[in-house]
Symmetry: C2
Subunit: 204 residues, 2 copies
């Protein structure tokens, strides 16, 4: 019993680890909008934030977040998990004319770290392209994979590393990983500097 408890806790801690057959479970029980006393409220996705003009970040959006996402007028979504995109989300994209970019990065568990640098680089090209804006970057929790992509974007924007890490930690909180921060530190942005971008601090 004690062993099982331990195992359960470990799984909770490392919720980015899933077996291949495991699908991301999206909660479809909610209505698209919440209403209290006749007033309509919006529900942003978990860990939602604006990164820069036309660039947003979050955890996995579910049906309850769709009406909020509509207010952003998204042109594209950058999805960073290898699991197939859920059907309700695909329908939402279709009905709102939103393009899906998929760059599947496996969830992992320290110290078995393997963030594919080339994949992050290709993902960043999509984010930098103003024709894809407004764009939402998301993975499952909006902490590790999204945090790494946004962190590399900040390096391109010439943020000093301590500020990059501070922002990463704000979203990852207790789940912050040294390995992610090392990845961002070592990520070479030089091959992306020739790209033009409307983002702030983006100077060649």
């Amino acid at each position: 019993m004690k062993l099982e408890m331990g195992r359960h806790l470990e799984e909770e801690e490392d919720d980015d680890i899933r077996s291949e057959d495991e699908r991301i479970e999206i909660d479809h029980r909610h209505d698209q909008t919440a209403a209290i006393d006749g007033e309509i409220f919006f529900i942003p996705p978990l860990n939602f934030s604006m990164v820069d003009t036309g660039v947003f970040r979050s955890g996995f959006p579910n049906v309850s977040n769709f009406s909020f996402l509509e207010t952003l007028g998204l042109r594209s979504i950058l999805y960073l998990c290898p699991e197939p995109y859920p059907e309700p989300n695909l329908e939402f994209l279709k009905s709102n004319g939103i393009r899906l970019f998929e760059f599947g990065i496996e969830g992992y568990k320290e110290p078995f770290v393997n963030i594919p640098e080339d994949t992050v680089r290709e993902a960043l090209k999509v984010v930098l392209d103003v024709r894809n804006h407004p764009i939402l970057i998301h993975c499952k929790r909006g902490k590790h994979r999204t945090g790494c992509v946004v962190g590399c974007l900040r390096k391109l924007q010439r943020w000093c590393l301590s500020s990059v890490f501070d922002e990463y930690q704000r979203f990852a909180a207790a789940k912050a990983r040294i390995s992610d921060q090392r990845f961002m530190e070592l990520f070479d942005v030089s091959s992306l500097k020739h790209l033009s971008s409307p983002l702030t601090c983006f100077k060649k």
Copy 2:
């Protein structure tokens, strides 16, 4: 010695409490930009983030943050502390044509809570006015006073309360205050709903 240690820790915990004579100390030792191996890096202010298009939030900017702030092309700054604005910051504003709006809200210590609702309401009118954009909202740490103003703005944007609190806690972290969250919950946005604003989710 033990007592002194305890006192020191307590002061660290409650860094929003200052005597009337105490001035906000700004670190002017840094150069305006950091350079490593000839590359220039930007240093965003403590707790910096984009709130919405044309609206930013942070802790107190010092000289080391000025070149970063220049990239935002700010038109105004909303300053939420009662202490006089430091001379180097006033010079920065002058040389960049940035207007300063001051709404001095005292730092406080629970349970002696007195966030002036009218002041927050007037501050929000400044934030909602697109003529003041891009605007930076800041206090000292970018946690409590800034967090309350942004939280009330989110209510105006019809965010559900749990999302408002989640965002507040992301910035306040271990210093999150129930009293701030209660203030946001009870804050009446109805008198501001008639205002027009370019912010997302801002519907009458």
